[in-house]
């Protein structure tokens, strides 16, 4: 049991570090002196930087070599992430594409799709977004209502609305889950599509959150034309294709370590400056509880990585790390604001932004309640809740719900 690099890993780390030392001068500056402020400039600079990282083999570390990746393991991915963090430079812009959507296309896409899209995605030439969630299909992803209807000429027409879409405002393509058959039970009538975000009929609207920032988007599809080559993984197989994406999402979370910048050192730092607070047993108790759990998540990440190295795929319990992180950060926000007082809630305070951001994050990617259901059933083996929507055609289900509501 150790946390050290093997000789091979140490060599890889040295190589990554050397490249970063040489090239970090050309990385975009996002914080502090000389930081970029214009949103468009930031995106352009980060795309260019992603391109450099990809050329150097620091993006898509685990992608197969034939698609421009390095064909390495998760541990090398983590080493790469660690070195990027250490160099204090941004990582890749399109973490969603490279981490989740690219691997889905690699697993289910047609050869032409792989050739056409993967390279441009990896190099940041084309940014991607994930078009799964809908206003009435959040936790229950299989309830998507966005309809793709096949035309007589074999092309498709797409109408509907997606929501909670990160990066949609500058994405070139989206991977979209649509209903293509409403007359079969809901898990069976869906298909995955690649949608050009500049197609006619696509509208992106920023969705402001509690903080006032538009951290996500709504995306509207009004009779958007798609040709048959847009289908990924076969018509009617959308649910299975989506599960692949969600599995890679868990891997991403599992490797996130202490994650999302919510770490105990940062929280302790906010309190350490207040002499009364640092000697207050109650403040210390709260901080100690929060920090202990966040430290645990760091080591859960290492355990996940050990499992990944052995070829094991993380199960839904990896999502419990997100529960720990989000709830820990919420408690930390409360504690810090209690210590600092209303100033912590000032618009310009980092803590105000965190306090505003977290309640939405609690629901992002499925609510905590649904996750606990899934873990209870799939990990602990507890019996499922009675499902009233099993085996019922989607079209009937909707009218039934309407009647009940």
């Amino acid at each position: 049991m150790d946390l050290d690099d093997t000789p091979d890993q140490a060599a890889y780390r040295a190589q990554v570090r050397a490249w970063l030392d040489q090239n970090k001068g050309s990385a975009p500056v996002l914080q502090g002196e000389g930081a970029l402020t214009d949103e468009d400039e930031i995106v352009a600079a980060r795309r260019a930087w992603q391109g450099k990282l990809a050329e150097a083999g620091l993006a898509g570390v685990t992608w197969p070599k034939e698609f421009g990746g390095q064909g390495l393991g998760p541990i090398e991915q983590v080493i790469c992430n660690q070195e990027i963090a250490r160099a204090k430079v941004p990582g890749i812009l399109d973490a969603i594409g490279v981490g989740m959507l690219g691997p889905t296309i690699i697993a289910h896409g047609a050869d032409e799709q792989k050739t056409r899209y993967l390279g441009a995605m990896l190099h940041g030439d084309e940014v991607w977004c994930q078009l799964f969630s809908e206003p009435a299909a959040g936790s229950d992803l299989a309830a998507v209502q966005t309809r793709a209807r096949r035309q007589d000429d074999g092309t498709w027409r797409l109408s509907g609305q997606k929501v909670w879409t990160t990066n949609a405002q500058f994405a070139s393509y989206g991977l979209l889950l649509a209903r293509t058959d409403a007359d079969v039970p809901k898990h069976k009538g869906m298909t995955m599509f690649i949608v050009p975000m500049d197609a006619e009929g696509v509208t992106v609207r920023g969705l402001r959150q509690i903080s006032g920032e538009a951290e996500f988007n709504e995306v509207f599809f009004d009779d958007v034309a798609l040709d048959d080559g847009a289908v990924v993984g076969g018509v009617g197989n959308g649910w299975g294709t989506a599960l692949t994406t969600l599995m890679y999402e868990r891997v991403t979370i599992g490797l996130g370590g202490e994650g999302m910048g919510y770490n105990s050192t940062r929280f302790a730092g906010a309190i350490a400056g207040d002499e009364a607070a640092r000697r207050d047993p109650e403040v210390r108790h709260q901080l100690g509880e929060i920090a202990s759990e966040l430290l645990a998540v760091r080591f859960t990440g290492y355990r996940t990585l050990t499992a990944l190295q052995k070829g094991q795929i993380p199960g839904p319990e990896a999502g419990l790390a997100k529960v720990t992180i989000v709830n820990g950060a919420i408690r930390a926000g409360d504690l810090i604001a209690d210590v600092l007082g209303p100033d912590a809630l000032d618009e310009d305070s980092d803590w105000a932004y965190m306090i505003s951001f977290l309640p939405g994050l609690k629901s992002a990617g499925g609510t905590e309640e649904i996750l606990r259901n899934t873990v209870g059933e799939r990990v602990l083996g507890l019996p499922p809740e009675p499902r009233l929507d099993k085996g019922i055609p989607f079209s009937e289900l909707r009218s039934k719900e309407g009647a009940a509501a």
Partner: protein
Amino acid sequence: MNLALSDEQVFLREAARGALSRFKTVEAAREALDSDQSALPDLWPMATEAGWPGLLIDDAHGGAGLDVFDAMLVLGECGRVLAGVPLLGHLPATAILGSASAGGDLLAPLASGEKRAAYLPAEPPGEIESGWTCDPARGLARAELPTVGADGTVSGHVAFVPDAPGADVLVGVGLEDGSPVGFAVESGAAGLEVEDVMRYDATRRLGHVTLSATPATVLDASADDLASAWYLAQALIAAESIGSVETALDVSVAYAKERHTFGRAIGSYQAVKHSLTEVLRQLDNGRSLLYYAGWARNGSPGEFPLAASAARSVSSRALDYAARAMISVHGGIGATWEHDAPLYFRRAQLSRRLLGGSSGATDRVAGELLAGASA
């Protein structure tokens, strides 16, 4: 024993609800976050028309001579719709003035609403802090009260004073040779500065108040009366919070009945149902303590510190829980700018950190009980 509202109290509450319904207060709370607080509707004329400024002023001075519980009913209605009526500052100030012989002259225009007062919150001594304190501008350590000089001028700072900006009279507690005395300062007095501050909830106008050898009227209110104003403020913000909890629960329950997932209304799931039941439990506890505080101020003044502090403690946690549940029950949509839930959340976040903080009130509950236990 009778803990029901009187007909007059039911009427007062219904009238308040009606009067407030003429304004789009929740929408204004959102818009003011984007623009600035001056965009908020001025609710003072409506309050004046309803007679709220004089609620706690006796009729000899033109007030309604009602009790704290009546004022709490009004604050509850304000809390339901996040209305920024500056009563949290005004009412405790009138209570101090009403208990001092020198306060009489000031009361008539305050009762009519022609002038508006704000209370500079001052926390009475407890088991741990042996002196009077006020809220600090930042950090956990409590701050010192202003001092009252031999020449009758007052100097010092009080941070985060509710409703201070624009108030005509500021009423507070200062230390004169170490003893607490009440004082009143009029707007425009020499050396008085009120810095307008907004934190997170645009409906709350706060002020950092600085007094530099400011001429003041010294008030002969007793230390008990000065302490009572602190607990009055605790009871009022508690009532206001419980009003907000009521709305949060109503809106959440309605959505939980209507929104479906996996083929069922989400309110049929235990996770949602139990969470909303928990909101109700905390709401019920908070309401009961409002009765306790409302009764104790006159019915058993020795218990008022305990009752008001307990009400503050429970209602603040109730609002925190209810606002988070409101966001959570609504799923992602509850965390968006256009939804009302974030406004109740902002209210919860700020309220719990004003007036000594709800954790200060919780500590005070323990202090009162521990003092009683060893007596």
